[in-house]
């Protein structure tokens, strides 16, 4: 057994198994499109159906899992001593794939729960104090979500007296939708319920973080799309507006917190909250437009949602894989200890740069494309003249543009501090280029980012089928068809292929001009340091310095504590040592979660004292009391 572990048999076997099964499920879902499977025995009844939405999600999950598995074939070697990682991650991915093809509520809930449990086991995999704490918080939050989702399903069952999703079409009222959306929001890490995400995603091994951030959070979006666009009974347009505003706030606060982080993976985790916020905004607009019957906006916003799911999945998984490689080859995730990695890890830094450009919505890459569609649908909802939506979409535009610029700042910080400049510590100094298989795993999603960014027409026409399934209409997009927002008149057009060609042409002409008219002389010399002859790489700008001016302006979003400790030293300006600590706390955590936790503990202490007394009479009394309560419930509620 130990010998097998040593050779990494488990790693090869389960990663290849993941690739094969993901491929199998993709092929299965394409060939068995629109057919139904039922697995029935004496006590279980699983029902599956391959519809367009699940086909989209199966392909999405499978392809990203395949990239991550290719990456983990090499990356996972440091986990060979404890190969449960590979087994759990295989089961985790499979439970997600089966989740999206399940066609009744019990199957859905069972696989939802399996997904949560396996991801919990992966979060606590490292076994450190930090990971156990994060795992507990994740377990707690995700089960609150599951309770709400279950409640939504029970309400649906009471209404339709069926377990099958086929009977739920148009059955969900406002209570069901509210419960389901709250439950799924917890899984998606939307802002008031996000506290678990920045703890749980970073502590897992990088390949698992990539799956959790790139894929698992989207399962919540799958649930929300299913509830809002398939199960929803009627027009609750204000629900769409609430989703829009919550999404916009999540987008802004998520990226603002991301900017304050030092840990690379934590920064990426907060960026996931931002992107989930953007997806929620699109969902909200689309649902609102559905309720108010503005067809073209509904389709456009849905296109933005689906494209952003794909774009975020691709770029976030590649960035998490990249952060795993940084961790593996430098043994730290703290960007204040890194620097200069672009010289040591040249190819990885190119891939990482493209991933960063994609996620911070730089044209002409794919991240910009989905944000552009979101902007257009926001402008379109202003054109509708609907009183509430006009105001809220203006607010949403403001928050979205602010978060877009802040994303640029946060990711410039991430790339600049980690990859550029001089190495800050010996860890960064001794980094080496990663293995080719690891880079291939990152390169495929990055190349797809470029492909979707520059030539999106193929994927948009495939997504049209999903949009048709959810909304009953399609968005026609070809290189020169303008977007129609509300009337028949073309509103605007973003032709990425044209822009990319123009960019390349202009660049070529400029380079040819420079080649002809400029000198090619180049000299390598040291950086000017005001004439000081100091070789101190700590004298570079730090990550917290980079974001401090922005954080100062938006200080009301943070509750940060910074402290400077000087050694007791007489010389005021020539101190031998000074310590600066800065702690950025989440306002939700500080003002809601921690007080709520304290109150909960106090109440349970009171119950604990009352219930655990040694007196047998009191215990019998409790027994009697609970019987009476059950009896009352039976008489007045159930009968």
């Amino acid at each position: 057994m130990d010998n097998l572990k040593h050779k990494g048999i488990f790693r090869y076997f389960f990663n290849c198994l993941t690739i094969l099964s993901a491929g199998f499920f993709t092929v299965l879902s394409i060939y068995c499109f629109k057919s139904e499977f039922i697995i029935q025995s004496s006590f279980i009844h699983f029902s599956f159906r391959f519809n367009t939405l699940s086909l989209f999600f199966v392909i999405f999950i499978s392809s990203i899992s395949i990239f991550i598995s290719i990456f983990s074939i090499k990356y996972g070697e440091k986990y060979d001593k404890k190969p449960s990682l590979f087994i759990y991650s295989f089961l985790f991915i499979m439970s997600m794939i089966i989740l999206v093809i399940s066609n009744d509520m019990l199957t859905f809930l069972i696989f939802w729960e399996l997904m949560s449990v396996f991801s919990f086991l992966l979060v606590i995999y490292e076994g450190s104090e930090e990971s156990r704490k994060a795992g507990f918080l994740y377990f707690l939050m995700t089960h609150i979500g599951t309770i709400l989702i279950t409640a939504a399903f029970i309400m649906l069952y009471l209404k339709t007296s069926s377990f099958s999703f086929d009977y739920y079409k148009g059955a969900a009222g406002i209570m069901v939708l509210a419960a389901a959306i709250t439950g799924f929001s917890i899984k998606a890490g939307i802002m008031p319920f996000h506290t678990w995400l920045p703890y749980a995603h970073p502590v897992a091994p990088a390949n698992i973080s990539a799956i959790m951030s790139g894929v698992m959070v989207n399962m919540a979006i799958y649930g929300i799309l299913k509830f809002l666009f398939v199960f929803s009974s009627g027009s609750n347009s204000f629900l769409g507006i609430i989703l829009l505003i919550i999404g916009a706030l999540s987008a802004l606060l998520g990226i603002m917190y991301a900017m304050a982080q030092k840990d690379i993976k934590k920064l990426l985790a907060f960026s996931t909250i931002e992107n989930m916020g953007i997806i929620f905004m699109g969902t909200g607009i689309s649902y609102w437009a559905k309720a108010e019957d503005f067809k073209s906006i509904e389709y456009l916003a849905m296109l933005a949602v689906l494209l952003h799911i794909v774009n975020h999945g691709l770029s976030k998984s590649s960035l998490f894989m990249g952060s795993g490689l940084i961790d593996k080859y430098t043994h730290t995730r703290n960007m204040e200890k890194l620097g200069g990695l672009s010289k040591k890890m040249g190819q990885l830094s190119v891939l990482f740069l493209i991933g960063i450009m994609s996620i911070s919505a730089m044209p002409p890459l794919n991240g910009f494309l989905s944000e552009w569609y979101l902007y257009i649908s926001l402008i379109g909802s202003v054109f509708t003249g609907n009183l509430y939506m006009v105001y809220f979409s203006i607010i949403a535009v403001a928050l979205l543009s602010l978060s877009g610029a802040a994303a640029g700042a946060a990711f410039t910080k991430l790339f600049g501090i980690t990859f550029l400049g001089k190495p800050r510590t010996a860890n960064a100094e001794n980094a080496v280029e990663s293995h080719i298989i690891e880079r291939i795993g990152i390169a495929i999603p990055v190349l797809l980012c470029i492909y979707i960014g520059v030539y999106p027409y193929q994927i948009i026409s495939s997504l049209d089928a999903v949009i048709f399934y959810l909304t009953g209409g399609t968005v026609s997009a070809n290189p020169f068809s303008a977007v129609h927002v509300i009337s028949a008149r073309p509103f605007s057009l973003y032709a990425p292929a044209l822009i990319a060609i123009a960019f390349a042409t202009v660049l070529l002409i400029a380079l040819l001009y420079l080649k002809a008219f400029s000198s090619d002389k180049k000299r390598i010399f040291e950086t000017w340091a005001c004439g000081l002859d100091e070789k101190n790489s700590k004298a570079q700008y730090s990550g917290s310095g980079f974001s401090s001016s922005i954080m100062k302006v938006f200080s009301s979003f943070y509750s940060s504590v910074s402290e400077i400790n000087f050694e007791k030293d007489v010389k005021k300006y020539f101190r031998s040592k000074s310590v600066y600590t800065e702690e950025v706390n989440d306002i939700f955590e500080k003002y809601i979660y921690i007080p709520a936790g304290k109150i909960y503990l106090k109440i349970s202490e009171i119950f604990d004292k009352a219930a655990n007394s040694a007196n047998i009479n009191i215990s019998l009394g409790y027994l009697f009391l609970s019987l009476i309560i059950c009896f009352i419930i039976y008489i007045f509620i159930i009968r």
Binding site: V397, G404, G408, A409, I417, L493, Y494, Q540, F546
Partner: protein, 324 residues
Amino acid sequence: MNFNGQHLIFGTVQFFIIVILAPFFAGFIHKLKQRARGQKGINIFQFYLNFNKLLKKEIVLSKDASFVSNIAPYIVFADYLVILLMMPAFYRYSLLGVSSDVILIAYSLALATFFMTLYAMDQGSAFGGLGASREWFLTVLSEPSLIFVFISLAIYTKHGRITDIFYFVQKGAANAFLSGIHSGAVSIAIPFLLFISLFIVSISENARIPIDNPETHLELTMFHEANILETSGKHLGIYEYGSYLKLTVFLTVMSLILFPYMAVNIYQIPLALIIYVLKMLILCILIAGVEIVNPKMRVFRVPNVLSVSFILSLIAMILSIRGF
């Protein structure tokens, strides 16, 4: 929009004229400022000579520099050129007019900032990090105003492409001029508010005096200059030229809000070109005036100024929504 040989040719001509004129406008502002301070002042075509001289010089790269330093100047330059390809200035059909979406333009400006700041951080100098941090500080604050200005224009005109937007504004203004202000959906308040808002954003984005002073190299005051402090030779020339192009982009949008007149056919081009240059010179005088009158302000007072710009564009947007 259909492709037409004429549009293609004159769109290209327009592009080259703007690109060639860009250093002239910057030089004009500089000359005005120097004369107002009582200095003799540079040659008005000095920036062309500077560019030419810088191209002939050798590049000194830091030994800490990576691949980013070798690509960033060209990407920034090409990015500004692509933005200019979308911009109409004196001819209604720009070369990339089909895809000249306003949000694309705003995000393309952010792309240039992104690469310039990465270049700054690539050298391992503390100044670079400082410049990058401050540049993003400004961008985070001014990007919402810029996008609001653009989206207000889009809502006001019900068009999303910058060429269509200004063609609509032009038609509305012409109608109002010919048959009185009550004749159509034309507003004076909206362009006025947007002009002031955009003026503030241009001053902050183009490193002009109340916010930044590109003439000094004092670390306390540097924004833009700190980013390109380590740059030399060809790279410096490209960055400088890029900053003239950026200034021209902002001035062109302002000139079109101020007095929307673009040639719709080739016979109007000479007149439109003359009017364009005149408008640009007036705006240059305005910017030079602001730069002369104001002292440089504290960094943490900049958010106040930019929030004024944001509020003005918000008011403009609310006014433009009232239209329907």
